[in-house]
């Protein structure tokens, strides 16, 4: 099992993730072309202006209204993307397999980052239960997605600290990590890919067409 997840499954996951993402991008591009206004109003300057405001912590009014949530959300997304890429363990594996490696973060830091992802994820789940406004629009799939996103981080922590059986844990870790990569293009996690497009369009419509701010 370990051999399978460590080898073919990882390949499969990356292929599905990359081809899936390209497919979704092409698909949404042809759909957006049919939606006549999108490409005619899309404007680089105002699109970028909007994206920059919304990827800057506290760059929008709504972020300043809920500082705790903003900090948590930015930390969550930052750690979620950065940790797996600059993790020492991952780099070692890549070096072993493909002979490539790059700059890594100290393990003490990546441990903290992983804990932040898991903690923030749990708070997101709690918020879905505790806040009636969010609860009303929450579906079971929202919890499931969150679980799939958190699973590689939880199992990664367990594996690192050698809690439970290491071999089982590392297998589960790779398995859930691969699952996570593969579902990105096909679930609401696609917001990772679409964020730039929807933001750029709204920024263009507000800035280029309507001469107003959108943050």
């Amino acid at each position: 099992m370990y051999e399978f997840v460590r080898g073919p499954l990882v390949w499969l996951a990356f292929i599905v993730f990359i081809l899936g993402s390209i497919y979704r991008l092409l698909q949404i591009r042809s759909q957006l072309k049919k939606d006549k206004v999108v490409f005619s109003y899309m404007n680089f300057k105002y699109g970028m202006r909007s994206i920059l405001h919304w990827i800057t912590p506290f760059g929008a009014v709504n972020m300043r209204k809920r500082p705790a949530f903003t900090i948590m959300s930015f930390l969550f997304h930052f750690c979620l993307i950065i940790t797996p890429i600059f993790l020492l363990g991952h780099n070692l594996v890549w070096y072993e397999s493909w002979g490539i490696h790059w700059w890594t973060l100290p393990e003490r830091i990546t441990n903290i980052m992983t804990i932040i992802v898991v903690a923030a994820g749990f708070i997101f789940a709690l918020r879905r239960i505790a806040d009636p406004t969010v609860r009303l629009v929450t579906a079971f799939s929202d919890f499931l997605l969150l679980l799939i996103v958190l699973a590689p981080f939880i199992t990664g922590l367990f594996a690192y600290y050698q809690a439970f059986d290491y071999k089982t844990m590392i297998t589960l870790h790779i398995l859930s990590g691969c699952l996570w990569l593969m579902i990105i293009p096909f679930t609401r996690i696609v917001h990772m890919i679409f964020f730039g497009i929807s933001r750029a369009y709204m920024g263009s419509e507000f800035g280029y067409v309507r001469h107003a701010k959108d943050w």
């Binding site: 049919k34 929008a60 009636p132 406004t133 709204m202 507000f206 309507r210 107003a212």
Partner: protein, 440 residues
């Protein structure tokens, strides 16, 4: 799907109650399928796929805030209770569900787009609500009063069943009235090649005719070469845009632009109305396949700003009463005219206190977007939906609320009455004629 049981769900409106009786499952499915797959494409797909159900749009909505954070009034919940279900069921929904969707889309959302400024992805939630309205309109399920305005647009090319002779007669009457104030005031009709065509919304000749006289005085004092059409096409309002009857919407806008083209004017200046600006400059051209309007269109805010800034109009004595502003969604969030509006108000008034939040972040009036046109059955719901507006205005301590928008004007007047704020609403035009320097 369980329907929502609330006081609003029991409001009687023949436009919803009687029309759903004629719906069949096949008809609903056909219309939903047509609108979702033929009329909408990329944005709908992207917005449905991207929304992570985070609820961060909730705090943007005046109805949600005013109703003590009732979860069903958050923007995302309004989409969930209407469009998500239509998409998920592929149109297999009951007539009662369509009634609920119509109630939510027409009477509980003003399409003010404040929520799209609160969504991290910039999802245009008001656009999604307009898709629901479109479906309801094609099914014939539209609040009766709102449908009546659309019928009027279809039959008379204006919103309020004004006949051509009444239109011309009203202009001549107002020309005469204005002439008593400032000698020599004219309302030139059908003057080909004038610099400016002035267009208004039908409620002006119908119920607020003095605004036309006021504008005639302003044009005279500023020395503008202007004209108004004597034919259909003078009305720039467009409730069909909000009822979801986009065919009529397109016809109305085309006629308006063609009238300006026929008169060979350099630009259109429009009166103090927000949705008319949206219809003429954005929704109309989009429907007609134009990227931008064919002739420049200047909103009254910008027109007054230019007149005052350039010195064509001088202020004799500033208005004394404490004033505040209601920023209209379609010209401030929709055109960034907030600073110019404040410049004009500060030039005209001595004692101006701004609202908070203001400019693009101002709360909706809960009258625009066709909501006030849904008529008396829905007034109470609208009032409950905008307590935050009453609190926001009361906090300024002003006596007069200035707003360059007809929907805001009526909506704020309703709120002032319902919450006993002891204020009044005025258009800029009313204060401008009072304060401007007149020729000897």
């Amino acid at each position: 799907m369980k329907l929502i049981d609330s006081p609003e769900s029991k409001v009687v409106d023949p436009g919803l109650d009687e029309t759903i009786k004629k719906l069949t499952p096949e008809k609903i499915k056909r219309v939903v399928d047509h609108v979702l797959t033929k009329e909408n494409a990329g944005r709908l797909q992207m917005y449905i796929d991207t929304c992570v159900h985070c609820g961060l749009c909730a705090e943007a909505c005046h109805t949600y805030l005013s109703r003590d954070k009732d979860p069903n009034f958050s923007p995302v919940a309004k989409v969930k209770n209407t469009l998500w279900e239509l998409v998920k069921q592929k149109g297999d929904v009951s007539p009662e569900f369509i009634r609920q969707a119509a109630r939510i889309a027409f009477t509980e959302c003003g399409a003010c787009r404040r929520c799209s400024m609160y969504c991290p992805f910039g999802i245009d939630i008001a656009y999604l609500i307009m898709i629901v309205r479109r479906i309801c309109s094609l099914l014939g399920v539209v609040p009766q009063y709102l449908q009546d305005t659309t019928n009027s647009h279809a039959a008379t090319s204006n919103q309020m069943w004004v006949h051509q002779d009444e239109w011309i007669d009203t202009l001549q009457w107002q020309e005469e009235e204005a002439g008593f104030e400032i000698p020599g005031v004219r309302i030139p009709l059908e003057k080909e090649g004038a610099d400016v065509m002035y267009s208004v919304i039908a409620p002006e000749p119908k119920i607020l005719a003095q605004l036309l006289g006021n504008m005639a005085m302003i044009m005279k004092v500023a020395g503008i070469d202007w004209t108004m059409p004597a034919t259909d096409g003078w009305d720039n309002s467009n409730m069909a845009m909000y009822s979801g009857d986009f065919e009529i919407m397109g016809r109305v806008e085309r006629l308006h632009w063609e009238t300006a083209a026929r008169l060979k004017v350099k630009k259109i200046v429009m009166g103090e109305c927000g949705h008319a600006f949206r219809g003429a400059v954005y929704d109309g051209p989009k429907w007609l396949g134009w990227k931008f309007p064919p002739i420049p269109m200047v909103h009254a805010i910008e027109f007054y700003y230019d007149l005052i800034k350039s010195g064509r109009i001088k202020i004799k004595e500033k208005y004394k009463e404490p004033v505040t502003i209601q920023d209209p969604c379609n010209t401030v969030r929709g055109r960034g005219l907030g600073d110019k509006l404040r410049y004009v108000v500060n030039e005209l008034c001595e004692d101006f206190t701004d609202v908070s939040p203001n400019q693009e972040h101002n709360y909706c009036c809960m009258a625009g977007g066709g909501t006030i046109n849904c008529g008396p059955p829905w007034k109470k719901s609208r009032m409950i939906s905008n307590r935050v507006k009453a609190e926001q205005l009361a906090a300024t301590g002003a006596k007069i609320v200035i707003t360059p928008c007809h929907n805001c004007h009526s909506g704020i007047e309703d709120i002032i009455g319902y919450y006993n704020l002891g204020m009044h609403v005025k258009f800029i035009n009313e204060i401008l004629v009072e304060t401007m320097e007149r020729p000897e």
